[in-house]
Subunit: 461 residues, 2 copies
């Protein structure tokens, strides 16, 4: 199924597409060399926004759900990629345990889990679900709408291993973002592979670190292609711990929002873009796009910051925040605003879909209740470049470009996981260091300059 | 596109299918372990025949053409597999040179070459064609029906490398079966990868060696699944050098044909199969199914052997021959007899098609002028097993089974290439020996017993 897709068919994006198409062998070789030095996360999904003049990842999910939204046609691709992953991790494996999110799974999440099980089963593993939710004390079988069933069992810990009754997995696949921190049950599993690793959980992960790594990747990629990295990179600043109940917290937000808006305005002027710049303030950790604040002018912050503290705190994300350049999405499916989500397993793009929201604007977050999903036309060779076709004129080429950008975000994720790997702390001795370590700087409210400097590419203070 | 397919939906084949489906994780793990010890050929196609009661490979092509017959839907799968292959062979590669068949390429072969180029280009390599045909002295560009062009250039040899003008490939992909022997231009390329290796050429390769290796594979696989290996293995005998102009040549043929027919009859009786057994006499080396002789009764040989020598020699293949159990094909597409051909790149099944011949019988060779091709329904997850569906009831499961059998033949090909690798001659010291070396025995006419014994699994004389 090819969705009826309207994208901006003129402007700098077509030049970018053309360069990406012309450089396919160079790009693929670049990725091959990256993956010689860095380990891709086992799986990953990336939200991309195509503004017509710029194309950038806005969110990289290391515990992707939504697998059921992929077209059934791309299943062989996902299975093949999963086989390649297993072959590298533990070819002698028989069993894989998937650790789902805690809590009672909703019907969409169940469908996603079932699809994930299908992929790894067809790749040649016995797959079962081991919950680490302390509330799950006994195994329960849930009927799915398609007549299949899914069994959730409580994971059982022995001294060195995690598994189920009579089920000893070689690899444990986390599909739980560990927002509340790494539970003891997952720690010190020296004999089993835990993927993604513990530091990918949201108790350790920071969006600002990811986008700092991504900035590095986009600069090198921009150099490779001879393009301004801004065309694929959303600028950002981070603010450390913000408590807007305190004056310093508000001040940090004001300064950074203002500085970032000014930079975006300058870029829009440089490229002759007649759009209103905006930035997005969001929590630096955590998933599901909750607590997102769109700001078009620094003055818009004032009413918020002057609101009674309790109320303001409901609107402005609490804790560490990242202030990110807003990227419009100029894509539409039947008049509704759409953004592509690209799925990867190992180093391979295995599919994707459009997240579509009829009631949201082109500068708003679409990852919200009311969104629906349209499988991307990845089925008919669509993530492959078509050398003959003109840039902007073909869906396959557009999707190949999306796959390239998504893979750049995956490279950034691999840098990020290295930077936070407790076993790779001494950079000089490790065989798998980042070329330029991006350890992420946590700044205090009173120390604003280094935050902005991160985004300029300077070393962290 | 799902071809309208009529297969035998009862009998032992469904039991086989059920066992294969039930054992998917076991089978995939078995393949993973095989590929840890053995190197798959870079690419390979396998002709399979499904008799309803037995399913077996009848030909394994290490220089496959016909790539254009694969559905465009499976292209992403082929590209992903090619990426996996490149990553292992030489990730830092920029260039790949394909060596096509000698002679003036026909339009079908050109279409196949163009598809092959497309696959490896999209996988991230600059791909050009370097001919080793001494008649090709300058580069020529040929227009293809779809408006694209294909350029054939003469390969240039330097002391240690082969390439083109201003084009130095890391890997040379042979699509030339080297029937006339390995030409000097390909020898002693110590700094480049030549794939498949020289010993895969028909001057070295013997069908009997391949099927001897396959027999070993089918026995181990049969043990894994608890099935009679005969259900997936075509029995054979080989006759060494046969010259039917001499009495001993005719005698070797008679004895082996008779012995093999007796064995097949016994198997048919064991399984209650009401079909007439037949054997196929074919040249032990060489491609394209030329010079194939179907024999249903040893008496049928007599008129041939008593014919004037010159005439008989036109019908019975000359040189070394293999006498193989004939496998019926019970598959039909619109009343025409069909057999599946499965394509693989690296260790992955990437697609397939049905070879269909309206004018041939179910016990005849379909690889003949007049055949046409119907892409297999591999596009919609069809090579993946569908655990819920009943055996025999679903195309996906049938195709998954074909993919398993084709991969068994590929494992046999990897054994075969090890057995004939000049660098792996001393088995005991090599890290990549066959578990049970199958070096292939060449027997003289007067030494009939060992030929038959090969097929019984005994050591070669």
């Amino acid at each position: 199924m090819v969705p009826h897709l309207v994208t901006a068919l003129s402007g700098p994006i077509n030049e970018l597409e053309q360069r990406i198409l012309d450089a396919t062998p160079v790009i693929e070789r670049w990725f091959r060399l990256e993956w010689m030095e860095h380990t891709p996360p086992l799986y990953c999904s990336v939200d991309i926004r195509n503004a017509g003049f710029k194309l950038a990842p806005v969110d990289t999910n290391l515990y992707p759900d939504g697998w059921h939204n992929l077209s059934a046609d791309v299943l062989p691709l996902a299975v093949q990629a999963a086989q390649a992953a297993i072959e590298k991790i533990c070819p002698e494996a028989r069993n894989l345990m998937i650790v789902p999110e805690n809590g009672k799974p909703g019907s969409f999440y169940l469908a996603s889990l079932a699809r994930l099980q299908e992929i790894f089963r067809m790749a040649g593993l016995n797959v079962r679900f081991g919950s680490i939710d302390p509330a799950i004390k006994r195994s329960s079988t849930i009927a799915l709408p398609d007549g299949e069933t899914l069994t959730l069992e409580p994971a059982q810990r022995t001294r060195y291993r995690l598994g189920l009754k009579h089920f000893d997995p070689c690899t444990i696949l986390l599909n739980n973002d560990l927002s509340a921190g790494a539970p003891g049950i997952l720690e010190d599993l020296h004999e089993q592979y835990l993927l993604p690793p513990l530091q990918a959980g949201w108790s350790v992960r920071r969006k600002s670190r990811h986008f700092q790594c991504y900035e590095e990747v986009s600069k090198r990629f921009g150099k490779l292609l001879g393009i301004d990295p801004w065309l694929i990179n959303p600028m950002f600043a981070s603010c450390g711990e913000v408590d807007i109940r305190e004056a310093s917290g508000g001040e940090c937000l004001r300064t950074n929002v203002d500085a970032l808006l000014t930079k975006v305005r300058r870029k829009y002027k440089e490229y002759g873009i007649n759009e209103k710049p905006f930035v997005v303030v969001k929590a630096d950790q955590g998933t599901h796009g909750a607590g997102l604040l769109t700001v078009r002018d620094v003055k818009d912050l004032e009413p918020l910051l002057q609101k009674p503290r309790a109320k303001a705190a409901q609107i402005v994300p609490r804790g560490e925040v990242i202030i990110q350049e807003g990227v419009l999405t100029h894509e539409r499916i039947h008049d509704a605003v759409a953004e592509p989500v690209v799925y990867m397993i190992d180093r391979y793009v295995v599919g994707g879909f459009y997240r579509v929201h009829a009631e949201r604007g082109e500068d708003e977050n679409l990852n919200a209740p009311g969104a629906h999903f349209v499988p991307l036309a990845f089925s008919s060779a669509a993530q492959l470049p078509k050398p003959g076709a003109k840039a902007g004129a073909s869906a396959p080429n557009r999707f190949y470009m999306y796959g390239v950008i998504a893979r750049l975000a995956m490279v950034a994720a691999s840098y990020e996981l290295e930077a936070t790997d407790p076993e790779l702390q001494s950079w000089s001795e490790s065989p798998r260091t980042c070329r330029r370590p991006c350890a992420g700087c946590k700044t205090s409210d009173s120390d604003l300059k280094p935050c902005v400097a991160i985004n300029m590419g300077a070393a962290c203070a």
